[in-house]
Amino acid sequence: MSDLTYTASELMCINAARLLRDGDVVFVGVGLPNLACNLARRTHAPNLQLIYEAGVIGARPSRLPLSIGDPTLVTGAVSVCGMFDIFSQYLQRGNIDVGFLGGAQIDRFGNINATIIGGDYQHPKVRLPGSGGSQEIAGWANRCYIITPHQKRRFPEKVDFITSAGFLNGRAQRELTGARGGGPLVVVTNLGLLEPDANGELVLSALHPGCTLEQVRENTGWQVRTSGQVSTTEPPLPSELQLLREELDPGGIYLKGS
């Protein structure tokens, strides 16, 4: 559909950026979410407010931040507060519109595992980094977006450990807990977009140009269903690619590779 070539990371980043609405208050992580937010801010969402879990509000990084607490996030920001305030007065209070999440595993109901693979909690086969702030982001941000490459091992039917809540075993079960956030709204992969259905099950809602339902099925750990109408995403625009490559990540630190 387009002659432009782009990496999987560029494709995911651009599609994530398009999900953001002007004026959104976004809880940002480093890497692709940071690039997606800054791309959105430079295109259709100039009033996006970037909040970092390190306690930085309204950051305007003048270089690519390489850690969640990069000093470039602070210089020129609107406000800086402690971690307790960021998690309580911003996230728990309901002042965050959008959170970005990732993890080693995402399951059929959008639950995320970033804790252990295999074995049990006390004796894991692989020990992952753990929650960090993602348990609270998944619980309390109004909307959550997940960015992840589409691979079978990343999409098991059931995660080994629910580090951060999607819809548990179905939307009603999440609602029972009283957690204020709406849960994952879209999963952006290199093949397309998955969205929760009425029961909170992730179903394929869109394919990227040139990608097929078969590819999705091959790379998903459960019998993935489709929403009524599977649309095709708009291909990356030259202007989007140019912004990413020339201004936002000129070194290709997060965008090169597959």
């Binding site: 306690g55 390489l66 969640i68 607490g69 402690g82 307790f84 894991p124 929650s131 348990q135 619980g139």
Partner: protein, 300 residues
């Protein structure tokens, strides 16, 4: 009553084998020089608590100082895995207690406030709560709904790096604040390391900037560049190259031990360590000044 002493004296006086130690700083102001001094003094069986153990605890674990880790995210920030910590945990050689970031900072907040626990709203994620018996519940007495609780964390020693402090330990911080204040108020003994020791007048010219009051501080140490390879806002940049290098160094215990021999045991302290980094690194981490707008307190 000046509390100024050398970092070696402060560590020797206030960090004891078996203590729970909190080296504060979220990405910013991590007191690496204090961690290295703890390694040099051969402290043992420490319980190390931090939201993100970062390289400082990876190094202390590698050096055999730790019995247990309390954490909420074990990664090399911006790089990937924290290899030593991960390997020790997977091998069952290191005890641990795990929370989310908010659980961790709520534990400190309770400890700092003298409360036995802090409540948190439910996040819907069940498994960490099931795995950690310290995460409990109480009923909100107004709605009858459950809230989640974590117990106060009161470290034996809190080590806090700051931009400037006076001889009494009144300490001013800007940039990312992380859990610096909560860690200080929660800890039994507080060691302040400072880029600069300034006169009390500088502190008193801007009381709202003082994050930690001297009255809860036991020792104040002047340690320029204490935070390298992390950073001090306005003083020097984060050494991202080192964070990347550590990913390679920590692939093998032999290279880790060689690194510890050269950069920790092989130097007397922070000053020698900094000089050894060399002028190219100094130049790479240098930062041009950018000042805050003036603030007038009024001469009342």
């Amino acid at each position: 009553m000046s509390k100024i002493c050398s970092l070696a004296e402060a560590i020797s006086s206030y960090v004891h084998d078996g203590d729970t130690v909190f080296c504060a700083g979220f990405t910013h102001l991590i007191p690496f020089a204090a961690g290295h001094e703890i390694i040099r003094q051969g402290k043992k069986n420490l319980t190390l608590a931090r939201a993100t153990p970062d390289l400082i605890y990876d190094q202390m674990v590698a050096a055999g100082c730790a019995k247990k880790l309390i954490f909420s995210y074990i990664g090399n920030p911006g790089v990937g895995s924290l290899r030593i910590v991960r390997e020790e945990l997977e091998a069952g050689r290191l005890e641990w207690e795990e929370y989310s970031h908010f659980g961790m900072i709520s534990r400190l907040q309770a400890g700092a406030a003298g409360l036995p626990f802090m409540p948190m709203n439910q996040t819907a994620a069940p498994d960490l709560e099931r795995s950690n018996p310290n995460i409990r519940r109480v009923k909100d007495p107004y709605t009858g709904q459950d809230v989640v609780t974590v117990p106060a964390l009161n470290p034996d020693v809190g080590i806090i790096h700051v931009q400037r402090a006076d001889e009494h330990g009144n300490a001013q911080v800007w940039g990312i604040l992380g859990e610096q204040k909560e860690a200080a108020f929660a800890s039994r003994d507080v060691i302040i390391t400072a880029e600069e020791i300034v006169s009390e007048d500088v502190i008193r010219s801007d009381p709202n900037r003082t994050l930690i009051p001297g009255l809860i501080v036991k020792a104040v140490c002047q340690v320029p560049h204490c935070a390298h390879p992390s950073y001090t806002q306005g003083y020097y940049d984060r050494d991202n190259v080192f964070y990347l290098n550590w990913d390679k160094i920590s692939e093998d215990r032999a290279t880790v031990n060689a690194w510890l021999d050269e950069w920790v045991h092989g130097v007397q302290g922070a000053e020698e360590y900094w000089q050894k980094l060399g002028s190219e690194t100094h130049a790479r981490l240098a930062v041009k000044p950018r000042y805050a707008a003036p603030v007038n307190y009024g001469d009342y």
